[in-house]
Subunit: 383 residues, 4 copies
């Protein structure tokens, strides 16, 4: 009998954790996967509290992720995939464990902390023929998909310049706070042990790289970067020259100290025949200019929207789709792919329209190249 | 033992219906109510298909809403509330039936077709001490709540002028199509039997009235309106002068033939000390001007947001919340109110922050006054 | 010998007066008329001071406008046209005098105070075959001309709805100030003797009517209006239903008490095939939507701009043209028309692309109809 | 007797030349200088035609700039200043000649082609105690002056990041056109003999540097740049990392191949207490965010505008001031300074509020450092 819904488990994400809740709601919007097992917290009570809220069966509430991977993998009604929403430094080990036990993986970004870990996870997923999604959220927006289609269809010609930025302001008070402990200073992002070699580039710069690659199909081949720590251990601001694999240049800027910007991811791609601009804070629109013509504002859901952007459209034009829908769209494809595999159906290209472990590996690679360039007085560093 | 979740039923909204899906997803985001019973369609197969998708128990799939109300009301584990997502002309009878059986109601707008029906439903809900929400979605947006708070707190002084509009374009091809049957012409909105005395004012004009009342606390006391049918039976365009209960005047405009506008609800309120503007298609921002000062752009989720807008904030500033979240926020309050009642807890003002049956009745009243004014050569008609 | 430049005179507009300076600078930008005679002020010293600044010959500085009209008309090197920048209530008499002496007239708006005066001036200009421009500035903007061309060319099809507004805030402190004399209260606009029967509609509402007529070619045939005086003698806020001569309806709103708006003239025209929006505070752009297509932002000076908008373009696209240029464009046509007449050249339609005495008369007519409707409890009043 | 007006001459700028007309009109708006002498073209007829249009006396129409400088310098009623609007490569020699003859200079940007020329002109102007303005237009806008004031007053704290760009599209067709002669290719900007070592950076990149320095008071101390020529001789696209003299970093981008951008100069300055954004294509507004507060939109001409921005305000708020006014504001200061000197009055700091020869020299220096960095594989190069 054809399966209509999947079972999934979660590692991390107790009721007080933010991102776990986002994942669960995104899946709930998608409606085709049911939370069935979990190891939500290393605190026993928090773990149980979360399990109770979702009516999990007792024997599917686990004290650690290893036990969960092992026991689930032995069940006939095992979970189909696991969502990993733990801190960055644990991603590698958790993901590896579930892959080894034959369970598909959805993992928060960044994929892991080192290039070696990334290569290993990529290899393992391939060997095991398992789906592995990395939740670079922004490629889930309909208008980002429309941008990708326009570029692919040649609408803007050959790409000649790219200008992208991701500006936030939430760490502004860390500038000059030196060794004094402030509330925000204590967040794990500023701690290399938890966050890896970069704070700002690792957290948001990597989204620029991923979204630009998704939209344009172009990969950075070298970067020349200057990072600012403003007296802290890790970077909070980065400006980067980038060269892409088609020879074009561009600029990436990311910052957590740019007052006036809450979550300002902006992608601008300039080609020989046209140009495209997309702003995450105004995500239902795409600003498209064809050479010699007026700028056009493409609006999600309208009749002229096509390809994946039309297929994954959920509500009528003019009714804003926000971040939760972008997130649900990532899961839409992953769930569709797994369901089709389970039902022995043909998997289409669209079903694979989610950021995967290779995208995750490229993100880790990008972060390392940027930091290396900064350490070499902003010399070009190849990826 | 304290209940964490409610059980709900749905009338209408099979898997092919749009608005039913929106309601279910909004509730899913809210996470505290589980779909338990339903009568999703008069087509037996469609009804069952939907029930199967949500794993409903067989004896809680009903062939009609009367059976559903009766049988559910007799169960110990009966549904706590019903969501009514059927066509407009059936709202009255369905809602009345569930109220009579002691079940809380959430109903799509407009509440019903006539003033008499509206008064009866309002009276019945009161007598039965039941919650009755009408899903005027737009009051669910965080920044609409912030606007309401600013007005209430006196931030803009005494209101002296209101300018609000709700412009769409989707019926543009009906202009001049005369008696010819086009695809859109056949939609029920253009049919008085299904839609009531008005198409455009009834569908979207009523949202203007509701959102303005929510933000300002002001009610229209008279209207002078001119409607355009462009050769069809019902209105597709309406321009209205409005007088409010504080003596201020204003303009409401709604249209389904304004090219370039997908779902353009815009509310502007001008006071003696400041002014406020909110745009549904850009819902995370609020444009606020204090007399003699620069315009400010309030951004959802920032530290200076307060009151309900802060409480119902779900994701960090700069990560857009769209229509689904606004919808979830309506349910958030309704579910909270019912849960507290079930758990014998104190119900706060915030728990009642949803559009209710009285708002629904005022909406019906407004529609009738507008149509009457148009029929009287745009003379002022009192509400 | 072909004349390259005209001579002009000015009535009103001493060095301390604002609008006189705007006229002189607009003419200076146009470069083809030289200030040659004047009666700038009834204060002798102010009059002379202004004359000296512009190096006027002594015998062409006049103590009053009658002397000026008489003496100039007798000179061989008489002025070709006069610019009238005196207060509203004097326009009629001054304009009439110069017409009677055979001198072309450029007059500030509104043309005059009564319908009878307007008809008389229109008749007189016609009899004397003199050019008579009324400086409704906004039709001078390039993108307003582009809007007009698009409508004329059928780009938006048949007009079905018009929404236009002109919102200001500068009189906000007059609300409720009662009889107390405030600085702004003493301005002449609030005095019926100086301003005529309306303040707000007369000052800015008339610009809406004129700009809409210019863009669409449509004239209001009836209005239903409600004015707000907020305790003062004259209106400071007006909301109007309008019916146009093609049967379409629309809304006009003008206000001097809408906080957040400095000079917000916005024109939106909706047709069966497209729509157009223009905003005076962002004047170099035109927002154009063709049915079923993305909104386009037309940008002044680009290759796709055509007709008069292209011809009167002065600086490259992206370099903003502001109000002074719009003003200069009005004079551009008037000066061109007079020069061609002087040089016995063929006058083209474009040379007459300035608001003329008939437009001025229609403006006066509109103001009176609006006030009359308000006095009749907002009944429809025909123009 | 106190002089009210100056006499000025012009080199270059015949009636068919664009920028000469802009200078003349800017001065005409300013009203306090009269065109009195000129050498508008090396073509005798064009020279005379222009002189005739402005009614120049015959003996003040010169065949070359040397004759003009010599003869004017000997007259009692000599010109007070000269406006140089010739091609770039001639600026140095013309400016030097007039300085040597004791005449104040206003010169188009860039000042000259080499660092040595720039230093010499700076030295000469100082020795001769002559005013020397370089028309970096954008510092003439009121809201750029407001930005400068806010930064100076500490409103945004210490500057920590700067992001500025100047994007155009007009050379897009030169990409890949190789050696083929196209219409635009033949423009002098693409010819090193006429344009110097850079096209794009020299033409518009230098405006970024100048405007940022004007707003922030910060100077670049090193740059790491990558230029794109797309197969042509000179650059048409440039991305630059910049370090400023307060230690902050930033990015400058300029381009003539970015479709969708006509003249997009955008300056964003981020500080520890606030941030500022200004856009040349929307020049009457300034986007200002104070830490923890909503973004504010400052509007030219409002009561809260102060300092120079208030003083040079010409027309009321909401009535757009465009490029011509910015240009006039540059001349406003130069003319005021010269007039005061002539009248032996005290020259204030505001009278010197124009870009001068030292700003011009820094522009030339910046261009050379950027090109040098690009030639050194984008290494940091010190200015």
């Amino acid at each position: 009998m054809k399966r209509l819904k999947l079972r999934y488990g979660m590692v991390g994400g107790d009721l007080s954790a933010f991102i776990g809740g986002v994942h669960r709601r995104a899946i709930a919007i998608e409606e085709r996967a049911v939370l069935t097992a979990g190891c939500f917290s290393s605190h026993k009570n928090k773990n149980q509290e979360c399990a109770d809220f979702y009516n999990l069966e007792n024997d599917r509430v686990y004290k650690d992720f290893k036990e969960m991977a092992e026991k689930e993998s032995l069940r006939e009604d095992k979970i189909d995939f696991v969502s990993i929403v733990t801190p960055n430094e644990t991603h590698y080990e958790v993901a590896k464990t579930f892959l080894e036990h034959g369970i598909h993986v959805v993992c928060e970004k960044p994929l892991c902390l080192t290039r070696e870990q990334a290569l290993e996870l990529e290899k393992l997923a391939k060997e095991k023929s398992l789906f592995f999604a990395v939740t670079y959220t922004y490629s889930g927006y309909a208008m980002v998909k429309q941008a990708r289609k326009l570029v692919k269809d040649g609408y803007i010609g050959k790409v000649v310049n790219i200008n992208a930025e991701y500006l936030q302001e939430w760490l502004i008070d860390e500038i000059g706070s030196g060794n004094e402990s402030t509330k925000k200073l204590s967040v794990w992002r500023m701690d290399p042990k938890l966050s890896g070699i970069s704070n700002c580039v690792g957290d948001i710069g990597t989204h620029i790289e991923n979204t630009v690659a998704y939209v344009t199909g172009l990969k950075p081949v070298k970067v020349a970067a200057v990072l600012d720590t403003y007296g802290q251990v890790l970077d909070m601001n980065a400006n980067m020259l980038v060269e892409f694999d088609n020879g074009a240049h561009g600029v990436f800027s990311c910052s957590q100290v740019c007052i006036g910007h809450a979550n300002g991811l902006v992608i601008r791609v300039f080609g020989t025949e046209g140009a495209i601009e997309w702003k995450q804070e105004d995500p239902n629109y795409l600003f498209v200019t064809k050479k010699g013509q007026p700028m056009q504002i493409f609006n999600r859901g309208m009749g002229y929207i096509n390809g994946r952007a039309a297929l994954i459209n959920r509500i009528p034009s003019g009714h804003p789709e926000g971040l939760m829908i972008a997130f649900a769209n990532i899961y839409q494809a992953v769930i569709q792919a797994i369901l089709k595999k389970e039902n022995d159906e043909m998997i289409s290209e669209g079903d694979l329209d989610f950021p995967n472990v290779s995208d995750g590996r490229e993100g880790v690679n990008f972060i390392h190249a940027v930091v290396e360039s900064n350490n070499k007085n902003s010399k070009w560093v190849e990826l």
